[in-house]
């Protein structure tokens, strides 16, 4: 190679070997389309009302104490480091959206099943010992649906309360009061006391410490960074932040108490219960589900179907259930097994891509995380205020939690085998979930999510419908679900999503 050619070759190599990654969810500084000044009167879900927690009146804008707070902000702004500036830019994207991204990260990190022991048994993740192997939690789809919903509901309740008190006191942002303080992130007309950033920080950190205790250090750092960003940016003073933090933590305590009694503690069950599920299927003349893992793994969260739902009573949960699946000995079942086999063996590259796009299996943010991923871009593009963004995520994630409760209840009611159990010659192109087949969790989650998102973003309803259909059929392409699992799952999920839509229609936010 001639030396003169070398630079040309290097240019070609660097162009060919481009390694720059484009994020699909970049967040620009949030300038909310509306203040949503009436949000303090929007309907509560868990709290009795916005005055359940009292926020004491702040010191006057003219007080010496407040003047000292303003001076502290000026001092901080005069010596901001690059790291501080970048955390301001990060949190300017919106606290609700940022935390939603961070929770998806946590779910993906903790969505790994325990490895088997040498004797072929599996340890159970222990919330009292979260740093051990296996780590706690195993953030599988039901666990994560619940986790996303608790964070979203807690944020939403806390922000409605914050909005109520903001408009009681109408204290302005430091950057609005003192021309010597720069607004380093968008500072609008929203009253600053209590700080919405600190409310989100406080409520979220407390919820996540319970849901993902092994990540406590990182969660705490992030939450503190969010409060500091509000302070350094001239958006909130120290007393705005302190009041917001206290309010957020107080609201979290209410939600944490609910989570402690919602049934999650009993969701794993025990060996006698697992055997009873199989015995019950045999007694009905059906082939019971058997784990296809090696060594066989206990079924995932058999009692999750008994968890408390957000928007459905226990009677609603039972009423909305789909009918029984085709009998494992029926001709219809034989035809559906044959369809799975035929589909996988004749799979096109496009169908394989659909199976991978919606796989959302172990190590990922799960199907509920995927729908949060989808929703986040619509929420961002609509420039929703923090409280309205929290509402959207709360509605979406309550529907998906209730879908998980409903779906898991039906899965363990029928304990139906997966296609490869009925025809071992079937091979799957995605990982095989370790729980009964009927109905499809993906289809239930996706229909519930698409129903809620179509209500919130009606202009995109057709897109959500396409996504729901694609997510659902991806399970047939993957070789892990029969068509009736998918069809009944979609119908069920749509009905469950309807509860969130009916709640939203009369919550005072429209």
């Amino acid at each position: 190679m001639r030396p003169a050619l070398l630079p040309l070759v290097l240019v070609l190599v660097s162009a060919a070997c481009d390694n720059t990654i484009t994020s699909t969810e970049a967040l620009l500084p949030l300038e909310a389309a509306s203040l949503d000044s009436t949000a303090g009167s929007w309907r509560m879900i868990v709290l009795s009302g916005p005055a359940q927690f009292t926020v004491a009146a702040p010191a006057a804008e003219t007080s010496a104490a407040y003047a000292a707070e303003l001076a502290a902000i000026k001092s901080a702004q005069s010596k901001l480091t690059t790291a501080q500036r970048s955390s301001i830019a990060y949190w300017a994207g919106g606290g609700v959206l940022r935390w939603n991204q961070l929770v998806r990260d946590l779910v993906a990190r903790f969505n790994l099943p325990p490895a088997p022991r040498a004797d072929g048994t599996y340890p159970v993740p222990d919330p009292e010992n979260p740093f051990a192997d296996p780590q706690f939690p195993f953030a599988n789809p039901p666990y994560s649906a619940r986790a996303y919903s608790y964070v979203a509901v807690a944020q939403y309740e806390a922000l409605k309360t914050a909005w109520y008190w903001k408009y009681q006191y109408n204290r302005r942002s430091p950057a609005r009061i003192d021309s010597g303080i720069r607004a380093l992130m968008p500072v609008g007309d929203l009253p600053a006391y209590p700080s919405e950033d600190a409310v989100i920080s406080g409520v979220t950190v407390e919820m996540l410490k319970v849901l993902f205790p092994a990540a406590v250090e990182e969660i705490t750092e992030r939450a503190a960074e969010q409060r500091n960003a509000a302070l350094w940016s001239g958006k909130a003073a120290a007393s705005d932040v302190a009041a917001g933090l206290a309010l957020g933590k107080a609201v979290a305590a209410t939600l944490i108490a609910r989570a402690g009694a919602d049934g999650m503690k009993n969701a794993v069950g025990n060996a006698a219960q697992w055997q009873a599920l199989a015995d019950s299927a045999v007694a009905r003349g059906e082939i019971p589900w058997i784990s296809q893992e090696s060594p066989p793994r206990p079924p995932m969260l058999p009692n999750f179907g008994q968890l408390q739902a957000w928007l459905m009573t226990p009677a609603d949960v039972v009423t909305e259930r789909p009918p029984a699946p085709p009998s494992t000995s029926s001709d219809q079942m034989k035809q559906e097994v044959a369809e799975v086999r035929r589909t996988v063996e004749q799979l096109t590259r496009e169908q394989l891509a659909v199976a991978y796009k919606w796989n959302d299996g172990g190590g990922t943010y799960t199907p509920p995380g995927h729908w949060n991923d989808i929703a986040a871009e619509y929420i961002r593009d609509a420039r929703m205020s923090e409280v309205r963004a929290a509402r959207a995520f709360a509605l979406l994630n309550m529907a998906m939690h209730d879908a998980a409760v409903g779906c898991w209840g039906v899965k363990y009611l029928y304990f139906n085998p997966r296609p490869i159990q009925l025809d071992p010659s079937i091979k799957t192109v995605i990982g095989l979930p370790n729980f009964p087949s009927y109905p499809s969790g993906h289809s239930t989650f996706s229909a519930a999510a698409a129903t809620v998102l179509s209500y919130l973003f009606p202009q995109a309803a057709a897109d959500f419908d396409v996504m729901k259909e694609e997510a659902s059929i991806s399970r047939l392409y993957g070789g892990i679900h029969y068509r009736s699992d998918i069809e009944r799952g979609k119908e069920h999920g749509g009905r469950v999503g309807g509860y969130a839509v009916r709640f939203a229609q009369q919550d005072g936010a429209n």
């Binding site: 070759v9 060919a16 990190r109 790994l112 659909v354 799957t428």
Partner: protein, 303 residues
């Protein structure tokens, strides 16, 4: 012409398909206007793998076997410059568990090998230095997102290689070769993935670059050539497979392998060569402990 047949035989070290490494690292060239064409069969299998640093088996995959048939061609443009092309078809299979194997055309590799110098070294032999530039691109739209059963990593890549070769008059030879490989990002069919300690909200995956080297010693006498080799790959970045997770395309895949080859050029026709090889993975990270067997037939045309 013996050395020339070996030149084609040595074109590639055993295809380590578990990590899809393809190297062109020997110290030999084809004579001007000679065309070598061959077919190589590779069989690579492992039942244990390293999950990060942890060596383990997995009942949900059992033994993973990767077979390949690679078409190889080399041509002597001048006595100092050879060009080489490789194209493998790959099949994967897991002996246990539900997962479907995959198959398809993997990556086409085009390489140019240039002799920088050749010089007598002491009075015992000849020292030669070569550079090789090689580019690889996926030859089909296969997915790299089904490790360990994907047929490859689906990354465009370019490697620059330097090789020093000492050929003793009495038949012994020693070969040292090292390469740096730049790898382009790959695109997945999904919108997000978790690796190396964080969630990426993108369908694109940055691929860490790779350094590898091979030291080969051997003896050549008459129609027989028997080299043994030690090779090591170091991936310069990437995350480990997490506990009980699937492998991922951009994992830090490292290995040390020992290999041996027997190459024989037939008495008649003299242009036909046979190659049998094996390699064994001594240590690794985020790869299977593979044993490979390769067999190939090559024919040399003088144009």
């Amino acid at each position: 012409m013996k050395a020339s047949v070996f030149g084609v035989l040595l074109l590639i070290v055993p295809l380590a398909t578990s990590v899809q490494a393809q190297t062109i690292d020997d110290g030999l060239l084809l004579p001007r206007r000679a065309l070598g064409v061959g077919v190589l069969y590779g069989h690579d299998s492992w039942s244990q793998y390293w999950e990060g640093d942890l060596k383990r088996a997995n009942g949900n995959i059992g033994t993973v076997t990767t077979q390949s048939v690679t078409w190889v061609a080399g041509y002597g443009v001048t006595d100092r410059l050879s060009v080489i092309a490789l194209l493998p078809y790959v099949w994967t299979h897991a002996s246990q568990g539900p997962l479907h194997g995959m198959d398809g055309l993997q990556d086409i590799t085009l390489a140019a090998k240039y002799q920088l110098f050749t010089t007598p070294f002491t009075d015992r032999g000849t020292l030669r230095a070569m550079v090789v530039g090689a580019a690889g691109i996926p030859a089909s739209n296969y997915t790299p997102d089904f490790q360990p059963l994907s047929i490859g990593l689906a990354s465009r890549q370019f490697s620059g290689r330097f090789t020093l070769n000492f050929q003793a008059h009495r038949g012994w030879f020693l070969n040292g070769s090292a390469a740096y490989t730049w790898r382009a990002k790959v695109t997945l069919d999904r919108p997000a993935y978790y690796t190396d300690g964080q969630l990426f909200l993108s369908n694109e995956v940055a691929m860490p670059n790779v350094f590898d080297y091979t030291v080969t010693a051997g003896y050549q006498s008459g129609r027989l050539c028997i080299p043994i080799s030690l090779s090591q790959q170091r991936t310069l970045g990437g995350g480990d497979i997490r506990r009980q997770d699937m492998p991922f395309v951009s994992n830090r895949m490292d290995w040390v392998k020992l290999g041996g080859l027997v190459m024989y050029s037939l008495p008649a026709p003299r242009e036909l060569g046979i190659r049998l090889g094996t390699s064994w993975t001594a240590s690794g990270r985020n790869v299977g402990q593979a044993t490979t067997l390769t067999g190939g037939l090559f024919y040399l045309f003088h144009l």
